[in-house]
C-alpha cells in the first residue's frame, strides 16, 4: 500500500500548529506565536481566495480588499466607541458580503484577463478610498485601542488569537471540503472546466459563482478581523495590490484547488520571506526565481508534488488533499 505523502504532510502540519504554543511557551519565545498567527491568518485569507481561484478558476487580483474591510471594521467600530466582539464579526461579515455582492456582480460579467483587471481596479479604488478616510488616519493608518472581545475571549491576547486563528482555519477548510464536494461545488468546478457546457445543460452559472465570490469575500473579512487583532493597527496598505498578489502566490504555490494548499502556500511564502530577509536585504530578488521554478516545475503546487503519481485514468474524484 502506498503512503499518501500529502496526507502525512498535512497531518504533520496540523499537529505542529496545534502544539506550537506549547513549544513557544517552553522556549519563552512568544514571538513564534505571533509569527505563526500571521501565517495562519493569511492562510485563512488564501483559503477564502482558493474557493473562487482554485475551485472556481476565477483569478481575483483584489482579495486583499476584503481582508482590509475586515480590519477596518474593527478599527472603525473602536474609533466610534463600539466595544465588544460580536459587532466586529457581524459588521465585518455583513460589509464584506455587501461589497462582495456588488463588486462580484460587476466583475463576474467579465472573464479571463478582464476579470483580473477589474478586480484589481476595484481593489485599487478601495485603497484610495481608505487613504482618503482622514478620520481613520488616511495614508498613515490608525492604531486600534483594543481588540475583539467575545465574552471571556480577548482576541488581542497572543495565545487566544493563535488558537482562534487555528480553529477558524480548520473550520474554514472543513467548510470548503463540504462545499466543493456538494452540488454547489460541482457547479463551481464544472464552470471552471467548461462554462459553455454548463449553460447548455441548463445551469445558470452566474448566480453560483457570485455566491462563491461572496463566501470567499466573507472568509477574507474574517481573516481581516484577526489581522486587526494581531497588529492592533489598520492601514490602507492592507488592500495594496501587492497584498492581493501575495494571496494569489500562496494559493498557487500551495496547490490550486486543494484544501490545504493555501495553508502550505502561506507557510512556505512567509517562511521564505523571513529566511531570505535574514540573509540579504534583497530577498525579493531571490524569492522571485523560487516562485518561478515552482510554477514551472510543480504545476499542481507544492502539494501537487507530493500527490501520488496520478494515472491519467484516475478522475479528480473527490477533493481530499
Amino acid at each position: 500500500m502506498r503512503v499518501d505523502l500529502r496526507l502525512l504532510l498535512i497531518l504533520l502540519v496540523v499537529a505542529c500548529l496545534a502544539l506550537l504554543p506549547v513549544a513557544a511557551l517552553l522556549a519563552e519565545e512568544p514571538y513564534w506565536m505571533r509569527f505563526w498567527s500571521r501565517i495562519m491568518i493569511l492562510g485563512l485569507a488564501a483559503a477564502g481566495l482558493n474557493l473562487i481561484l482554485g475551485f472556481g478558476g476565477l483569478v481575483s487580483f483584489g482579495h486583499a480588499m476584503y481582508v482590509a474591510i475586515g480590519a477596518y471594521t474593527v478599527g472603525a467600530l473602536r474609533h466610534h466607541g463600539v466595544e465588544g466582539g460580536l459587532p466586529d464579526i457581524l459588521v465585518a461579515l455583513g460589509a464584506s458580503a455587501g461589497v462582495g455582492l456588488l463588486i462580484g456582480a460587476i466583475c463576474l460579467r467579465t472573464s479571463g484577463i478582464f476579470f483580473i483587471m477589474i478586480t484589481l481596479a476595484f481593489a485599487q479604488m478601495t485603497y484610495f478610498f481608505f487613504v482618503s478616510l482622514e478620520q481613520y488616519g488616511g495614508d498613515d493608518g490608525m492604531r486600534i485601542a483594543s481588540g475583539t472581545q467575545l465574552g471571556p475571549l480577548h482576541l488581542d491576547d497572543t495565545l487566544t488569537l493563535y488558537y482562534s486563528a487555528f480553529l477558524l482555519l480548520c473550520g474554514v477548510i472543513f467548510l470548503t471540503w463540504r462545499l466543493v464536494n456538494a452540488r454547489f461545488g460541482m457547479v463551481i468546478r464544472g464552470a471552471r472546466s467548461n462554462e459553455q457546457r454548463m449553460a447548455a445543460l441548463g445551469i445558470p452559472v452566474f448566480r453560483y459563482r457570485l455566491t462563491a465570490y461572496v463566501i470567499s469575500a466573507m472568509i477574507c473579512a474574517l481573516a481581516g478581523v484577526l489581522l486587526a487583532n494581531l497588529t492592533l493597527y489598520i492601514s490602507p496598505a492592507y488592500t495594496h495590490w501587492t497584498r492581493s498578489g501575495e494571496l494569489l502566490i500562496m494559493v498557487i504555490l500551495g496547490g490550486l484547488g486543494t484544501l490545504f494548499g493555501p495553508v502550505i502556500g502561506a507557510i512556505v511564502l512567509l517562511q521564505l520571506e523571513d529566511l531570505l530577509a535574514h540573509i540579504t536585504q534583497h530577498w525579493q530578488l531571490f524569492l522571485g526565481p523560487i516562485l518561478i521554478l515552482v510554477v514551472l516545475f510543480a504545476r499542481g503546487g507544492l502539494l501537487g508534488l507530493l500527490a501520488p503519481r496520478q494515472v491519467s485514468q484516475r478522475p479528480a474524484e473527490e477533493i481530499d488533499g
Binding site: 463540504r178 462545499l179 464536494n181 456538494a182 452540488r183 454547489f184 461545488g185 460541482m186 457547479v187 468546478r189 464544472g190 472546466s193 467548461n194 459553455q196 457546457r197 454548463m198 449553460a199 447548455a200 445543460l201 441548463g202 445551469i203 445558470p204 452559472v205 453560483y208 455566491t211 491519467s312 485514468q313 484516475r314 478522475p315 479528480a316 474524484e317 473527490e318
Partner: protein, 252 residues
C-alpha cells in the same frame, strides 16, 4: 400534420456580409428525426446555436412547445426540454464519465444551492446518471476520467449528458464528427434505438447515417432551406442534386 414541437419563422442571422441563416422557416415534429444537411458553410452550426440560445438571431422567431423562446437565455432552454450537444466534444475533462452525466442530472434536479451533502454519493443524481450511461452503452466506463475516454466514447458521453437533461428535442451537432466507420455504426445504432422516444434535430455530414435514421431532411445552402422532405424525396430532388449532393451520395 401534428403540431410542431419546434418552429422557426423567417429566421435570419448574418456576420458582417456573410449570411449564415436566411429567411429560414423550419418545423420539427414531436418524436421526429429531422436532419439538416448542407455543404460546409451552409449555416448548420449557426442554426443550432440560435436554437440553443447561444446566438441571438437578427430577425425572425423561434417557437418551442407552443412558446416563443427567441429571446430566452440559453440556460433556460434545457428546462423546457430543448438541449444541444456539441460538434467539438464539450465535456468536463477532469471529471469521471459518471460525474459528467451526474452534473447534467443535477441541472434538472432543482437548484444547486446545496452546500453540505456530497454530490458524489447522492443516489438522486447517480441513479439517473448511470441510466443515461447505460442508454448510450458507456456504463462500464463510468469511473474513467472523461479526458481518458476514446474519441468515440467521448462522443457517446456527450449524448448521455444531453439525454440526462430529459429533452423533448435534442439538437445533435455532428454526433459522428471524427469517428471511424465502426464508431459511426454504433452511433447510428444508438440513434435508431432512441428514435421514437424523443425528437432530434440532427446536423450531420455522414450521408449514410442521415439517410438511415432521418424521418425528414432539410437541405441548407447559404443559410437558406432549398428543400424539405422525406429521404426519398430529397434523393430525387433536382435542386438538391445540383446544389449539393454528389452523384455517388445519391446512390446510397
Amino acid at each position: 400534420m401534428a403540431e410542431p414541437l419546434l418552429s422557426t419563422r423567417n429566421l435570419a442571422k448574418s456576420f458582417g456580409g456573410l449570411t449564415a441563416t436566411d429567411d429560414l422557416s423550419l418545423d420539427v415534429l414531436p418524436r421526429e428525426v429531422h436532419a439538416v444537411i448542407g455543404p460546409n458553410g451552409a449555416g448548420k452550426t449557426t442554426l443550432i446555436s440560435q436554437l440553443s440560445g447561444e446566438l441571438q438571431p437578427d430577425a425572425g422567431s423561434i417557437f418551442f412547445d407552443g412558446q416563443d423562446i427567441t429571446a430566452l437565455p440559453a440556460w433556460r432552454r434545457p428546462h423546457l426540454g430543448l438541449t444541444r450537444s456539441f460538434q467539438i466534444t464539450s465535456i468536463f475533462r477532469d471529471m469521471s464519465a459518471l460525474q459528467n452525466v451526474a452534473l447534467a442530472v443535477q441541472a434538472h434536479a432543482g437548484h444547486s444551492f446545496r452546500f453540505w451533502r456530497p454530490a458524489a454519493q447522492d443516489p438522486e443524481l447517480l441513479e439517473p446518471a448511470r441510466e443515461a450511461l447505460r442508454q448510450v452503452g458507456l456504463q462500464h466506463r463510468a469511473d474513467v476520467a472523461a479526458a481518458a475516454l476514446a474519441h468515440g466514447e467521448q462522443r457517446q458521453l456527450e449524448i448521455a449528458m444531453a439525454l440526462a437533461t430529459r429533452p423533448k428535442l435534442l439538437l445533435l451537432d455532428e454526433p459522428m464528427a471524427g469517428m471511424g466507420p465502426e464508431e459511426s455504426a454504433k452511433m447510428v445504432e444508438l440513434l435508431q434505438k432512441l428514435k421514437g422516444t424523443l425528437a432530434f434535430l440532427l446536423v450531420e455530414h455522414d450521408m449514410d447515417a442521415v439517410f438511415a435514421v432521418a424521418d425528414r431532411i432539410t437541405v441548407l445552402v447559404y443559410g437558406r432551406a432549398i428543400a424539405t422532405g422525406r429521404p426519398e424525396e430529397i434523393r430525387g430532388n433536382e435542386n438538391v442534386r445540383q446544389a449539393y449532393l454528389g452523384e455517388e451520395s445519391l446512390a446510397v
